[in-house]
């Protein structure tokens, strides 16, 4: 188990290295240079002096390998550069926006689990009934509906037509907890429905597959009650593929969270990323991408860890 984890960890570090090179290169593959590109989008920067100043700040006058080394080193000590647009240190921007994104993520997990798991289990036990068909088709619709459209429809229904929730904006929990919850319900729900559809399908199929296994019959033959058969014998193996999907899904949901923060004007990490991309604000873009990559790698490691816990066969391999 320890060796397995060490291997996974080393591999993650290798991938992190490759990703960082990729991210680092993007800004430098431009015709011209990133400062010029940023100046095209931001008139405040369109001044040779300011641009030269930014160039040396961004380290463009140094050799590429050195630039990379300094960038990586700086990243790990929290020196993420300053935004071209606001001149603010990127690390501070990130810290200020993190709580919003974390709250969004927590809400997303809540909805996706709350909807996906029970429906998947119900669907499996009522397989090939009308209820199963209804749940399964709802799930595929949930997976297909694009976040931006779902957001617009919900905003129209519940903010314009029925005026229950605010259409956009963010109120911190510390300021007004009631309003905070109200403004987070729609964004988290939009994010959650997509994943809920995925989880539902996987829980259903995985449970059905496990319930058809010989060892479930053995458990029944031993005289275990149906509930014990499911909890003791079926739940753990059925979770194995579901865990994989959750891991992949948490990577996908980053895209969704960027969009949701944009649509609902939540001042989170994703909104920062989209604004930075639109303004070609390279220090912010680089930091955003690297954090995203780190997050996904960590989720993958967590999945590996859970795998080891759920499936003893993995531990030995």
């Amino acid at each position: 188990m320890k060796r397995y984890l060490a291997k996974r960890l080393l591999y993650a570090l290798l991938i992190l290295f490759l990703v960082s090179i990729l991210i680092f290169s993007i800004a430098r593959l431009l015709p011209g240079d990133p400062i010029q590109a940023a100046a095209m989008m931001n008139m405040d920067l369109a001044n040779e002096e300011i641009m030269d100043d930014l160039r040396s700040q961004f380290g463009l006058d140094r050799p590429v390998v050195l630039q990379y080394g300094v960038w990586v080193k700086d990243f790990f000590v929290g020196e993420w550069g300053t935004s071209f647009g606001s001149g603010e240190p990127v690390f501070e921007m990130f810290l200020r926006r993190l709580p919003v994104t974390l709250e969004l993520f927590a809400g997303y997990v809540f909805w996706s689990f709350l909807i996906g798991f029970p429906l998947g289990v119900i669907s499996a036990f009522k397989r090939n009934t009308v209820l199963d068909a209804a749940i399964t088709s709802t799930a595929i619709v949930g997976i297909s509906v694009p976040v931006i459209w779902e957001a617009i429809v919900l905003i129209y229904l519940f903010s314009v037509h029925f005026q229950i929730f605010p259409p956009s904006g963010y109120v911190p929990f510390s300021e007004n907890s009631m309003e905070n919850v109200l403004c987070m319900i729609m964004p988290t729900f939009v994010l959650g429905t997509h994943s809920a559809g995925m989880y539902m399908r996987y829980v259903r199929s995985s449970l059905l597959e496990v319930l058809g296994q010989d060892y479930i019959r053995t458990a029944r033959a031993k005289g275990l009650k149906e509930m014990a058969v499911i909890m003791r014998h079926a739940a753990k193996p059925a979770m194995i593929p579901v865990v994989t999907v959750i891991g992949i899904d948490w990577g996908y949901v980053i895209s969704g969270s960027f969009l949701v923060e944009y649509m609902f004007a939540l001042p989170g990490f994703g909104r920062m990323g989209i604004d930075a991309i639109a303004a070609r604000d390279y220090p912010v873009i680089q930091a955003t991408l690297l954090i995203v990559a780190l997050f996904i790698l960590m989720v993958n490691l967590a999945v590996d860890l859970l795998y080891g816990y759920l499936d003893p066969r993995v531990r030995v391999k």
């Binding site: 060892y215 053995t218 033959a221 275990l224 003791r232 003893p312 066969r313």
Partner: protein, 322 residues
Amino acid sequence: MAKLLSVNNLSVHFSTGNGVVKAVDQISYELNTGETLGIVGESGCGKSVSALSLLRLIPNPPGKIVDGEILFEGRDLLKASKEEICDIRGNKIAMIFQEPMTSLNPVLTIGQQVAEPFMVHQQMKKKQAAAEAVKALKKVHIPDSGKRLADYPHQFSGGMRQRAMIAMGLTCAPKIIIADEPTTALDVTIQAQLLTLMKQLTIDTGAALIIITHNLGIIARYADRVNVMYAGKIVEKASAADLYKYPKHPYAIGLMASVPKLDQDVKTRLQPIEGQPPDLADLPEGCAFHPRCRYKIEQCRVSAPSLRTISDDHEIACWVDV
């Protein structure tokens, strides 16, 4: 001998894409205390289904027990409540499955799985059940059983997994043990070891044993009485010795001719049974065996024969006296 189990007119049907399959069709048999009953037949003849239905383990859908009664200790198991049947499973009637690789849960330790029946049926606490599990594994000759309790099935060899299955089946000293192709996946020497062990253990506990197999050698060596099944029906019931020496049903005769015997002239050729096992969804009219039968008469095409007694403790379902 006391009657322990009697199965009357049991029918199990499966609904498939090609219509209803009568996997088990109106079978009746009895089992006495302490005896070993062999159920023999080709794969797909309904022998496993008939065994699984004793404990109502047929997956539903698609399978369904449509008719019959299974009397055990004076109770009809088919009418028992879910709680009652759970109480019998693994406690009074235990099953040992084929394919120990897939029949053991890969994510639970051997110890957890062997200890389970103790906890379910004898209300033991975890520790006590684990101690019992060690003893149970020792009984089936698993070396170092204390240490191996924490192993997972994939860490066991095929033979050891099967031993663990047997240990699991015997935990609660059941009245009946049903062994479904218990040794198919193993090599011959280990097969013999395990069957002898199983037989010995049933003798020790006085349990009755039902062995389901397609291997006539196993039947000859371990069974007292035999049911020969074909296409969901019992076509011949006899004592093992009788069946071996004087098979009466054309199918049983065919079976016997298709396996080598030690007392046979070496020059005798083995006779295979012509034709293919029937498609259960599309059985021929009359006797299901008649397209492959060498002795068929006109009657066989028209109606299916039911079992008739031909001598003491020997019944066949055939229109012809061969």
